[in-house]
């Protein structure tokens, strides 16, 4: 049997609903229909009254989740696309994220964001928003890159007493497969060494981990050994694991799908430069999407986002320096 990244997300929600009566799911078309991506397939049927179709009201969807959380529930709010969370933004960053600090009442809400570019997605169905949400105090931001993490981290997200922005990547939904669901996982907040190497550290997360691994493969043929660090969560960010890797390799390339100004890559480089300056044998570099909206046409989209090829090219530059 083999299971996809998307099925893992569906299974994690099924398990959360089955194990914890406090869990419910709220979002557009997630009930009988099973969601725009089928991440809640059959869940409304298996868990009557606990998987509810919402109106097209992102602000109220998140607000409702916060209110239910105050009453001890563990809501999962599905945004149909991450891009639409901009209209639920205020409730996420100012309501959910501030509740515990202001009132000492925890806010165990999970907001699922189907993120990232796909062929023909275009400017408003392709955005990644981890760099926006991670800036705000009070939020945990997860960016699983594997089927196993999609499953175990979503269960973690629901179990945590704090608001979690769960960034799942649409490009991984169907193609990424595993043989079975994991029974154990790294703790939340710990990064993972996705591939070991001694010449260069590539820090990535979400779909970019796979581009980085492909680049590492390509470079291996050239006799270069790339270490790939999968951040898993971007807030909190596992500086120790990154630093330990850079200590081994002396070189750092950060790869992310979000826009170049600020964000995960800038944060990682700033931390390494501040706390691990002496570890660096060469200037740290980063690779992001280009500084425009995400283009519709595949030709343009392929040039807009980092790919195994552009990562390999960037890596060679660093290795030469």
């Amino acid at each position: 049997m083999s299971i996809t990244y998307l099925e893992a997300i569906r299974e994690a929600q099924a398990k959360a609903l089955a194990d914890d009566p406090r869990v419910f799911i709220y979002g557009q078309d997630i009930g009988a229909f099973g969601g725009a991506f089928k991440a809640t397939k059959n869940l409304a049927h298996e868990f009557p009254g606990r998987v509810l179709d919402s109106p097209i009201s992102e602000d109220a969807m998140v607000g409702l989740g916060v209110g239910a959380a105050i009453e001890g529930r563990r809501p999962i709010i599905e945004m149909q696309f991450a891009d639409f969370s901009t209209v639920g933004f205020n409730q996420i960053v100012n309501q959910a994220a501030t509740l515990f600090w202001r009132t000492n009442v925890p806010c165990p809400i999970t907001v699922r964001l189907p993120c990232g570019g796909t062929m023909g997605g275009g400017p408003f169905h392709s955005q990644t928003m981890e760099s926006i949400y991670a800036h705000y105090p009070g939020l945990i931001v997860m960016t699983p890159a594997t089927v196993e993490d999609a499953y175990s981290m979503l269960l973690e997200a629901v179990a945590l007493d704090d608001p979690v922005v769960f960034c799942e990547h649409k490009l991984l939904y169907y193609h990424l497969k595993a043989d079975k669901l994991p029974t154990e996982a790294l703790p939340t907040g710990k990064a993972r060494i996705a591939r070991e190497g001694r010449d260069l550290t590539i820090v990535a997360y979400s779909a970019m981990v796979h581009e980085a691994l492909a680049a590492a493969e390509e470079l291996a043929a050239e006799g270069v050994q790339i270490e790939v660090v999968d951040l898993r969560t971007v807030k909190p960010l596992d500086t120790d694991t990154v630093m330990a890797s850079v200590a081994r390799t002396g070189r750092l390339l950060c790869v992310g799908e979000s826009w170049p100004w600020g964000g995960v890559n800038a944060e990682v480089i700033a931390r390494v430069a501040s706390e691990g300056f002496g570890l660096l044998d060469a200037p740290p570099r980063r690779l992001n999407a280009k500084d425009t909206p995400v283009p519709y046409h595949p030709n343009l989209w392929a040039a807009h986002r980092p790919t195994a090829r552009s990562i390999a090219t960037e890596a060679r530059k660093i290795l030469r320096s």
Binding site: G63, L64, G67, N90, T98, D162
Partner: protein
């Protein structure tokens, strides 16, 4: 859909008399506490703004009284009377305004941004309209738990009805048929902005039909109308009739905040129905009906003054917050806290 507020024959009935007097006492206490905050503000004793409920006590107290212990209340900036009637201790308000670490917001948040979620008082965030869907969520959670006979009230001003959050929140409550009381205090202004720049409908109660909820239009300065309408609306909500939209007409008898002289207020409004001082109106009503003798009222007043002065004196002796005692972490899962980057 539109309903008249008064149940005939109710007047004079003795339990109502008690309710009325009880309401009046909370209004009086609220007015006195508000006045105290105003003087503390003028004395430079309060950081940031001070926002009063002067002129809106009748409506606000009616909300607090229509709610029962265990219900939910998301008050807005002019709801001191309602908060007190619902059970918020005077000292919570004082500690929050004066920034005492012993208050419910621990000096982290201030003035009207206070509450105790576990006691059913949801502390507003500033973004207008944002609390409605939060109340919806709490009510939905209670439905999941099989809790019956509960309601949640959310207060709003006329200006806040222009927010998307108001629309999404009320519509969501209507779709889920939640026991939500949405009370709109139309005090004729949003800060300086008159209602003509805020909406073009004849009355905000005309919105009820568009959501499929019941609507009430009342004189927010008439304590009896407020108490009876809110009670009626609350019992309807409790009995599964879904959201109730109460629109009260009244006038803000103070600045938007104490920093605001409010010269923009049209003096004529004071002469119109809804423009009078609801506290005075209640006193006159009590006289006509011969409810509560003047001596009793002045006794109540001095008791209220004493209560307020005592609370303020207590809080003023309390030390301010100590930044070194703060853990400066915004999440409850401490081992995941990033500290201060």
């Amino acid at each position: 859909m539109l309903q008249t507020a008064l149940k005939p024959g109710a007047v004079g009935d003795s339990t109502f008399r008690e309710t009325y007097l009880k309401a009046y006492r909370f209004m009086l206490l609220a007015r006195i506490l508000d006045d105290k905050f105003a003087s503390l503000y003028r004395a430079g004793k309060i950081h940031g703004g001070v926002f009063l409920g002067r002129g809106q006590e009748a409506l606000s107290v009616a909300i607090g009284l229509a709610l029962q212990k265990g219900d939910i209340f998301a008050p807005l900036i002019r709801d001191l009377a309602g908060r007190l009637a619902f059970g918020e201790p005077v000292i919570d308000a004082v500690r929050t305004y004066l920034g005492s670490p012993l208050g419910p917001m621990r000096a982290r948040d201030g003035n009207v941004h206070r509450g105790q979620p576990k006691e059913g008082i949801f502390p507003m965030i500033s973004h207008l309209g944002a609390m409605i869907s939060v109340v919806n969520g709490a009510l939905l959670a209670r439905r999941f738990s099989g809790v019956k006979d509960t309601v949640g009230a959310a207060s709003l001003g006329d200006g806040a009805t222009s927010t998307g959050a108001f629309h999404e929140g009320l519509n969501q409550a209507a779709v889920e048929k939640l026991p939500l009381l949405l009370i709109i205090a139309n005090n004729q202004y949003a800060y300086s902005t008159p209602t003509t720049r805020q909406f073009a409908c004849h009355s905000l109660v005309d919105r009820a039909v568009g959501y499929g909820v019941e609507g009430y239009s009342i004189d927010g300065t008439d304590l009896e109308a407020c108490v009876k309408s809110l009670q009626q609306a609350a019992s309807k909500a409790r009995s599964g009739k879904g959201p109730q939209l109460i629109v009260a007409n009244l006038l803000r008898l103070c600045g938007h905040g104490e920093h605001d002289p409010a010269e923009y207020v049209d003096a004529k409004l004071k002469c119109l129905p809804g423009g009078r001082d609801c506290l005075k109106a209640a006193e006159e009503e009590m006289q006509c009906r011969n409810w509560g003798h003047p001596e009793m009222i002045s006794l109540w007043r001095s008791e209220a003054v004493h209560k307020v002065e005592e609370a303020v004196a207590t809080v003023q002796r309390e030390p301010g917050p100590d930044p070194y005692k703060e853990d400066w972490s915004a999440i409850s899962t401490k081992h995941l806290s990033e500290g201060n980057g």
